[in-house]
């Protein structure tokens, strides 16, 4: 199995760890194909679900003849249906993600690959997209273990440099993907236009949304001193600061308020929010924190 072609994204140890996991959603969606996930629909699995009266048109094969023999009533025996899950990973590949060590984008890609791998293992439909894709540019839908290699290739190909606002990107994403499912949005949420309007698209799209905000260590605890001219890498905006203790503490307050605001925003709207430091190993993030949040099991 050509799984670990690119060990920089997913190491064998990580893969072995990930194989034991599966994606979870609190919502139950209707899948497209037969999968390993219980569906709302009654179907053809071996697991008994319910009885109901026969109405004309039902498949005769599903009649419970034993009951007919006893009760002389036509009762249809319903079974649970197992379906697949739509899993979308939406990666913010803007310039601002190209910071940190590892860069936030690498971190995001690694995370997307890991989650996608879990999806593939559990026979879910996995689609990895970036914010910058246009309405018509759909990423391939991957399914099954044999697609791991393609998944990795696809993730690997994501390059930083897209410049599109959060709301525009998410809007495009929603237009592209009608299907419902689990959306993991990996971004730093640093948009001068604000993230609120962007995230509202997810709400209206009725997906089970996980917002994972990736911030680098430099952003969380800036190690700067002196008189500086800060240049925004996206729009070349400048901010002149003279670093001082009150300034730094004020920054921390602002950052905390920002993070808390985002979390509050997401929680109110039924989305999951998580802050990821790029120093936190992906395996730990997935196995520990996301498991606790209920994305994986």
């Amino acid at each position: 199995m050509p799984v670990d072609r690119d060990s920089s994204l997913l190491s064998p140890e990580l893969l072995a760890q990930l194989e034991r996991l599966e994606l979870v959603t609190r919502k139950v969606f209707r899948g497209r194909m037969k999968g390993e996930r219980r569906s709302k629909r009654k179907g053809q699995s071996v697991e008994f679900a319910d009885f109901r009266n026969y109405v004309p048109g039902d498949d005769l094969r599903q009649l419970d003849w034993n009951l007919y023999a006893r009760l002389e009533k036509l009762i249809v025996k319903l079974f649970m249906e197992e379906e697949d899950l739509h899993f979308y990973a939406l990666v913010d590949a803007s310039m601002s993600m190209d910071f940190g060590r590892p860069t936030k984008l690498d971190y995001a890609k690694q995370l997307a690959a890991a989650l996608g791998f879990i999806g593939l293992i559990r026979a879910d439909r996995v689609r990895i997209e970036t914010l910058g894709q246009g309405v018509g540019e759909k990423s391939p839908i991957l399914r099954g273990r044999q697609s791991v290699w393609r998944l990795l290739q696809h993730v690997e190909a994501i390059e930083p440099g897209e410049s599109i606002s959060l709301s525009e990107g998410i809007k495009n994403f929603c237009l592209r993907n009608r299907g419902r499912g689990v959306v993991v949005f990996i971004s730093d949420l640093m948009d001068k236009g604000g993230y609120e309007s962007a995230l509202r698209y997810f709400v209206s799209h009725q997906v089970d949304c996980f917002v994972i905000q990736v911030l680098s260590q430099e952003e969380l605890e800036p190690d700067v001193k002196g008189d500086l001219k800060l240049v925004d890498c996206e729009d070349a905006d400048e901010a002149e600061i003279t670093v001082s203790a009150p300034l730094l503490s004020r920054y921390q307050q602002t950052l905390n308020a920002f993070v808390a605001g985002a979390q509050d925003f997401c929680t109110r709207r039924g989305m999951h929010y998580m802050l990821a430091n790029n120093q936190l190993p992906v395996e730990e993030l997935v196995a520990k924190h996301l498991r606790r949040r209920g994305l994986v099991r």
Partner: protein
């Protein structure tokens, strides 16, 4: 401006200096070359900056903290260059001696507050004491005629203040030398014992000597200051006026010897002529009052006629007009004692001695005593016997004769030894040709006498009994001696003045009568033996001991001070009273067995003390009046201007502050992230 600052730079330097802050400002505003740093997003930073901008002026100040520190540094340096200081009574040093003049002139009330100078001095010392640091020690010496350690070295300010309160004004003269010697004794030894224990004074330690005085005394000669650092703080004013009685005595008139006169001299130590009324009281009865016009800086005198038998306390009082500001009141009264005038009587027993008789018959001698003459043969008569045993005479001179019994009077034997065993120890035979070696110049009998040129043919050797003293010594032995006898004294002159040859012709035994010293000697004799009473006319100065001859057999006498306090005085020798407690001006009464035996007056009579103006040093053309300096030894101690003995400078403190600012700035620059 000059009192607060002393500029140390010229205009050009100041100009250059003023460019520095301008340059600093320019650099500060030009410098803003900030280090560019690319960040993922300035999103949060902008919000931070906005927050901080909203957040008050202080943040802006904080941004410019370095600039402010640099400006502060510059300001401190400039201020230090201006040498700020104040004319304060600042103390520098570790040990202080405060010399406070408490002489009569310090009672003058010419200070701004209207208090006496002494009070002013005490007040100023008190402010100095207040400024003492805890590691400073000080002592206080008050001085007038006698110095007095009021408080030894201590760092206890309460003790010092209490000691200061104890200083009382006196009426005595000023003697700085004693005080300096006392201070020297305290300042220059290596170790001192104080209340707190042994105290080390190292060799190099300077002792600050603050002299608070009005400078009414002559300079001190022959004194080395050593470790003492003198500071002279004059107290008083140039314009002080004072009228003083500088003399009061009573005597017989030159023209009319039967009448007594009181002589009063008034001095005016002011810039303007001044009229004043002089009143004379006898036993508190006003005798007369005279108006005197006293020229500026001069004296005027007047005489008052007194009755022949007048006796008692004589008091002269100045009554200047209300408009006159007489700053010193101590010297407005003077005292004298009029003795119940009994003429001294002297009996000369001589076979005939023209030289001696004429020496005792001068006009001056007549004023001193009434001399009676008698032949030796008359000593057999009962009159003489009665008189000689009843204290009629003050002095009996036995010339070439000897009484059978010593009289109750002082005696002077010429050419014979007294008829008592005490004097008969030596060879009674005359010796030939003595040469005078030495004589007791300090004795009143030999006052102003030169004997070196006196030739003597022959003489008796006069060896005085125990307790006596030799007055003239020669190659052959003592030839003039004196010895006490009860309350009298016997003097024996060994050689005859006029001798008799075997055949009865007179010869000169000595050429002394041809010398100037001869009449002087006899005047001295009258003065010493007979005229003791008139010595009361000599002036007794306050705080100087008074020696009196008292006609009393008692060993303990009572002296009543002018303020009616009484003191018991033990006599060292019968008939001699030495009294030291003469601090007050006025008349002192000596009681013997309840009776007034003697009175004496103590007067100031000191032109130096009464002239209360500060001494002025002449200052060139500008006519600025400057207080004359004190000269101590070879050092001139310049007077410090009142109230500002020391200028305390701030620049060291400022520079230290600038250094601190510099260090702080460096710290801020390196660690400002944390501020």
């Amino acid at each position: 401006m000059d009192s607060l600052f002393r500029n140390t730079l010229g205009p050009a330097s100041w100009f250059l200096l003023s460019l520095i802050p301008l340059a600093l400002f320019a650099l500060y505003f030009l410098k803003l070359k900030r280090q560019p740093l690319e960040v993922p997003s300035t999103y949060l930073w902008h919000r931070v900056i906005e927050d901080l901008h909203v957040n008050s002026l202080w943040q802006r100040l904080r941004k410019s903290l370095l600039l402010f520190l640099q400006l502060l540094l510059l300001a401190l340096a400039m201020l230090a260059l201006l040498r700020p200081g104040w004319q304060g009574q600042a103390l520098e040093g570790q040990q202080f001696i405060f010399l406070i003049d408490k002489s009569a002139s310090m009672s003058a009330t010419d200070t701004v507050s209207g208090e006496s100078r002494l009070e002013e001095a005490k007040r100023r010392v008190e402010t100095l004491i207040d400024q003492l640091d805890s590691d400073m020690t000080a002592m206080i010496i008050a001085f007038a005629e006698q110095p007095e350690v009021v408080q030894e070295f201590t760092d206890n300010r309460r003790l010092l203040r209490e000691a200061l309160d104890r200083i009382e004004p006196t009426a005595s003269r000023t003697d700085l030398t004693g005080a300096l010697e006392l201070a020297d004794g305290f300042a220059n030894p290596r170790r001192l014992l104080t209340e707190e224990g042994e105290f080390e004074v190292s060799e190099q330690e300077q002792v600050e000597l603050y002299i608070f005085s009005d400078g009414r005394f002559r300079g001190v000669e022959g004194f080395s200051l050593g470790n003492l650092q003198p500071l002279y703080l004059p107290i008083g004013s140039f314009a002080a006026q004072n009228l003083a009685i500088t003399a009061l005595n009573a005597r017989r008139g030159e023209e009319r010897p039967d009448q007594q006169q009181a002589f009063v001299q008034v001095a005016n130590f002011g810039e303007q002529p001044q009229a004043t009324v002089v009143e004379l009281y006898l036993e508190d009865r006003l005798i007369d009052a005279v108006e005197l016009e006293v020229p500026a800086g001069d004296v005027a005198s007047t005489t008052f006629a007194l009755a022949e038998e007048a006796a008692g306390q004589l008091r002269a009082r100045l009554d200047p007009p209300q408009s006159f500001d007489d700053t010193l009141r101590l010297d407005n009264e003077a005292y004298a004692v009029l003795e119940d005038r009994r003429d001294a009587r002297v009996l000369l027993v001589t076979p005939g001695n023209t030289t001696l008789e004429s020496a005792l018959a001068t006009e001056r001698a007549n004023r001193l005593a009434k001399v009676e003459k008698m032949a030796p043969a008359e000593m057999e008569k009962p009159d003489y016997l009665l008189q000689s045993q009843s204290e009629v005479y003050d002095l009996i001179i036995y010339d070439q004769c000897v009484p059978q019994v010593m009289p109750l009077a002082s005696t002077l034997f010429v050419g014979r030894l007294p008829p008592t065993d005490l004097w008969k120890q030596a060879e009674a035979e005359p010796v030939f040709g003595p040469q005078i070696i030495d004589w007791e110049r300090g004795h009143p009998l030999l006052n102003l006498i030169e004997l070196g040129n006196v030739q003597i043919v022959d003489t008796l050797i006069t060896k005085p009994p125990l307790g006596g003293g030799v007055l003239v010594d020669s190659t052959k032995g003592p030839i003039f001696a004196i010895a006490p006898r009860d309350r009298y004294e016997d003097a024996v002159l060994g050689f005859e003045i006029v001798g008799h040859e075997e055949d009865g012709t007179r010869t000169y035994n000595t050429d002394w009568p041809r010398k100037h010293s001869f009449p002087t000697f006899w005047l001295n004799v009258l003065d010493y033996f007979a005229h003791e009473s008139s010595s009361a006319a000599t002036h007794n100065k306050p705080d100087l001991p008074v020696e009196l001859r008292i006609n009393s057999q008692e060993e303990t006498l009572t002296v009543e001070l002018p303020d009616s306090q009484r003191r018991e005085v033990q006599l060292e020798r019968v008939g001699r009273l030495a009294f030291h407690e003469t601090g007050q001006l006025g008349v002192y009464k000596v009681y013997s067995g309840g009776q007034v035996a003697k009175q004496f007056a103590v007067n100031l009579f000191d032109r130096e003390e009464s002239d209360v103006r500060l001494r002025v040093k002449q200052e060139g053309e500008d006519g600025v009046q400057v207080v004359d300096s004190l000269s101590i030894g070879y050092v001139d101690v310049a007077a410090q201007s009142p109230g500002s003995p020391v200028r305390r400078e701030l620049w060291k403190l400022l520079l230290a502050g600038a250094l601190v600012v510099l260090v702080f700035e460096w710290y801020i620059y390196n660690r400002r992230v944390y501020i």
